[in-house]
Amino acid sequence: MTTSSILRVDNIHVIYDQVILGARGISLELPEGRIHALLGANGAGKTTTLKAISGLIRAERGEVTCGSIHFAGHDVLKSDPAALVSQGLVQVLEGRHCFAELDVDENLRVGAFVRTPSRADLRRGLERIYTYFPRLAERRRSRAGYLSGGEQQMLAIGRALIASPRLVLLDEPSMGLAPQIVIEIFEIVRRLNHEEGVSFLLAEQNAAIALRYSDHAHILENGRIAGSGPSAELAERDDVRASYLGIGAEGRRSFREARHYHSRRREH
């Protein structure tokens, strides 16, 4: 690979509570400045993989039992999550997790503290986020708990970006949002990637949108990588279309056919 990779995950196994297997032998590599996607159903291991990379898994009694993870030359398994954030690796959690009792401004400010910015830096950082997310600027004094789902997702992304990360792990950004808002959020991700060179690794159940906005994708099944490839190629593959996009080889099915297809699958 010609471009240097910012993230290299090598054959990791993850165990929760010393018994439950979350990932078994996942390897992937992310070149700097790219957007890669992890696709898969519930429980396939997408979130586990992201949390292993950010180190947050240890706070949930999970453990990477073998394999290695390297982010920009740092050994992730030997660093604590706070140190990783200050080195430029930040995760946006599934379900947004804004600080509901803090207002929008405070949510963003607290995201910047890890870099111990000066007051002027902090102000510049805030303005930068508000130019990307003008909706947030309108509501900067509202408590985050009262924002709409889309605004909360924007706030969660903005709170991660204000720390000027090189790599953002984005977990289910489309969850529970209207299609229009999902597109708006993915457009911003693309802009951040183009304009600021931020790399993204995103986990998505919405395979259609993830394939449209990513360069490369990995398909996870039962804690393993079942397939990988450039997103444009995956989007054309019949098996991917059938399993993840709900489209048969002969083109878009009618709802009735799709239902028939699903019930047949369940019988197997």
Binding site: A59, V85, L93
Partner: protein
């Protein structure tokens, strides 16, 4: 009328003493979601330290400063030895850990510094002064002023500093705080140290009133109704709860006591807390989580 006002004001002032104890709980509960059963032991330990150092010949301000440093060291030790290994465990696990901790601290305090009752003199005479026609205890006024200053300092800490905003973020969503690089261990160290210092202040005031002794650690039990009434997550609530409990106790003792054969102070606060549980289970200022429908 004057008698009523005197009873009320006396109760309110005494209530600030309850508030002081309750604030220590609220701080730790907010930041780490654990009801710190050891708060009473910390209070006893802090007051004993201060008295012992004073007896050893240190002037009072120096003894207080030394006690503050000891409470900071204790907070660091608790974070390292108890909280860090138990991170992510259930609330009941953490509660049991603080229960154990309270026995260790109590044992340590009495083993090192003796179990006899010690007198503590803060240099404030407990003689009443008259404001208008109303007699007020000078000591209670001093305690209330101290509580007021402490609350002001805490409010500034929480709202105006970066550490304060981080503390609130951790209290709100620990996992999210971790994900944006807030150092949880440091936050816990700070919170436990602040709670220890609040415990020191409360311990000194209570100790000056009833002697520094083992029973001091039982003020925990007095803080419980205050927390139920005011809410576990709000410093303002702890203050309001303390005032309500103090005033209600005093008024009930004076006006309802004779009808019930007297001596109702020990249980009246719990009765009141029970009544509050029926109508406002989250307490007066407890955070009911913001939920979008």
């Amino acid at each position: 009328m004057n008698f009523f006002l005197e009873t009320l004001i006396g109760g309110l002032l005494a209530g600030t003493m309850y508030s002081l104890v309750a604030i220590g709980f609220v701080l730790i509960y907010k930041a780490s979601g654990v009801f710190n059963f050891a708060q009473g032991a910390m209070l006893l330990f802090a007051a004993l330290n201060c008295v012992s150092l004073q007896e050893a010949g240190l002037p009072f301000p120096a003894a207080v400063l030394a006690s503050v440093s000891i409470m900071i060291v204790l907070a660091l030790a608790i974070e390292r030895a108890v909280l860090r290994p138990l991170v992510g465990r259930s609330q009941i696990t953490l509660f049991m850990a603080t229960l154990g901790l309270s026995f260790i601290i109590e044992g340590l305090a009495q083993g090192l510094m003796g179990a006899e009752v010690r007198a503590l003199d803060l240099g404030i005479e407990d003689v009443p002064i008259t404001i208008g026609d109303i007699m007020v205890s000078q000591f209670d006024l001093f305690a209330a002023a101290t509580a007021g200053i402490l609350v002001l300092v805490l409010a500034l800490l929480f709202n105006k500093t970066r550490i304060g905003v981080s503390l609130r973020a951790v209290a709100d969503d620990t996992r999210a705080a971790l994900s944006i690089g807030i150092n949880l261990n440091r936050i816990w160290q700070i919170v436990w140290a602040v709670a220890g210092i609040v415990g020191l202040v409360a311990g000194l005031l209570w100790g000056a009133r009833q002697g520094v002794q083992f029973a001091l650690s039982l003020v925990v039990l007095k803080a419980l109704p205050v927390l139920i009434i005011g809410g576990f997550t709000s410093i303002g609530g702890a203050i309001a709860g303390g005032l309500i409990v103090g005033a209600a106790e005093n008024l009930a003792e004076v006006y309802a006591g004779p009808l019930l054969g007297g001596g109702i102070t020990p249980w009246f606060a719990y009765f009141l807390a029970l009544a509050f549980l029926y109508v406002r289970p989250a307490g007066l200022f407890g955070e009911r989580a913001i939920e979008r429908v």
